[in-house]
Amino acid sequence: MLKLENVTYTYQPNGPFEKTAVRDVNLQVELGEFVGIIGHTGSGKSTLIQMLNALIKPTSGKVFVDNVATTEKGANLRDIRFKVGLVMQYPEYQLFEETIYKDIAFGPKNMGLGESEIDRRVRASAQLVGIGEELLEKSPFEISGGQKRRVAIAGVLAMEPKVLILDEPTAGLDPIGREEILCKIRDMHRETGIAVILISHSMEDVARYANRIIVMNKGQIAADDTPDAIFAQVEMLESIGLSVPQITKIAEGLNRRGFALPSGIHDLQTGKFEILKAIEGVKPC
């Protein structure tokens, strides 16, 4: 679905502030995958994903969406953007319409869909992110920050993209809100079989939802593997300013103190289950 070949991106080439944000990246993402991208601030994650839907074009190399290169002359960029939906960081600033309904309908309308199809998509995506029917006729400026975020995400979901990219969708949300949004997105991913790419600073979130993790460092891909394989490389992650989920650290600490927990504990649920199982074997004195 998505293919990157030797992609490099340089900001202000030949200027005094020249900066290469992405360097020689090769990558392929297929439908049905849930990819997590982690990396330190400034590692090139956001630049990378903006190339995936042709918002910016690589300085060198090629990005293919459905076998069409974004740099190709005459490539229909809007078409590419409808296929690859991008929710940018802090997406609530993009709201502008009079009502929430109209704002969510902005994307589908630009696609040139019929009235009834737009209506179906708006209601479906609003429901998916947990925006009730009663809110749809309200102004997007009189709801809370968390709700604004949901409306903005719904605005991209309503385009029903084949690849959904989320750039830190839960930054600045409360714990319950982040859990809810990410769970909904995972459910949708399972139902529809689209590809999801999630950028996050939270190792917990990535470990819990993604089935493939890409680690970015200084504009390059440092590792690209399953969560188990990635979080086994504690030293590598720490050397580039990242970490493993807290529960993984706890499991490791317990093992050093004589427990025999299996490796590959990265989310709370399995962690809790395995720890309880191990403790039952220990007789209280």
């Binding site: 960029l77 502008f96 994307g107 605005g155």
Partner: protein, 275 residues
């Protein structure tokens, strides 16, 4: 796409020109501009060129980068040159129908092009080598004497600082909003003017909202730190004149003397040198 604007841009480098006191730099730039208009012959422009080239070399700003700032004004420069060329009365040297070119016209056009070019080079040299903060600092201090006649020097400088501070922020924000709306299928590249104009609404509304929000937040943040205007306010980096500034002033005086001298040079003086 909006980041390519070089107007008023700062070029970070370590140079004597960068280190000059902003007050001195502003005053010297003003003096330089006055001098540009004092020059009466090409000998003077020769001196001006050598002096300017020397300053640009000292500033370590690549000349190519400086000339890039001229490009947007090229049309304006050409227009003035053409108007001067055809509209000046004097000794006619060429005529085609109603078009006539005079000796005075050629000289006038050449002078005008040189003046505008040097004017732009001088003012961009000032902004290229001075951070906006130091620039407004210098301006505030220079305007201080006018406080007595009711000029709100500090407030003006503060407004300028804030405006300059927010230009890149707002540009970045515009870029971000444009990208977000493009991702939802907004069409900014359409050939249709009406459609392009309509596509501006989804950008302008969020931009205004965020600008107002930022203004509000900034006001609160300033009040939280007990900002109450310029009275009794001290500076973290007080401006201090150094020996370097004295050298710059001496250089300027020498330069003015040279220009005044050059103005007295006439063909009668130059002629014998060649023969």
């Amino acid at each position: 796409m909006l980041r390519d604007i070089t107007l008023g841009q700062y070029f970070p480098a370590e140079s004597v020109i960068h280190r000059l006191d902003p007050r001195v730099k502003i005053m010297l730039t003003l003096a330089y501009i006055v001098v540009i208009f004092l020059i009466r012959n090409f000998v003077g422009y020769g001196v001006l060129f050598v002096a300017t080239a020397f300053i640009v070399w000292l500033s370590k700003v690549p000349p190519k980068f400086m000339l890039k700032g001229l490009r947007p004004l090229l049309f304006f420069i050409l227009l003035t040159a053409i108007l001067n060329l055809f509209m000046t009365d004097g000794h006619e040297i060429f005529r085609l129908g109603f078009i006539r070119i005079t000796y005075e016209g050629i000289i006038g056009a050449a002078f005008m092009v040189l003046r505008i070019t040097f004017l732009i080079v001088a003012s961009s040299l000032l902004t290229l080598t001075t951070t906006p903060i130091r620039l407004t600092d210098g301006l505030e201090r220079l305007l201080n004497p006018f406080k007595k006649i009711g000029l709100p020097a500090h407030e003006l400088a503060m407004m300028m600082t804030i405006a300059l501070r927010f230009i890149p922020t707002l540009l970045e924000e515009t870029d971000k909003i444009m990208k977000a709306q493009s991702a939802r299928g907004s069409d900014f590249e359409s050939r249709n003017v009406l459609r392009r104009a309509k596509a501006m609404i989804p950008i302008l509304v969020p931009l205004f909202i965020s600008a107002f929000r930022r203004a509000d937040e900034l006001a609160t943040a300033m009040e939280c730190r007990c900002y109450r205007g310029g009275e009794g306010r001290t500076r973290l980096n007080a401006l201090k004149m150094t020996e370097l500034d004295m050298h710059a002033i001496m250089f300027m005086i020498l330069f003015v003397v040279l220009i005044v001298g050059a103005n007295r040079v006439t063909w009668e003086i130059i002629w014998p040198i060649f023969y």
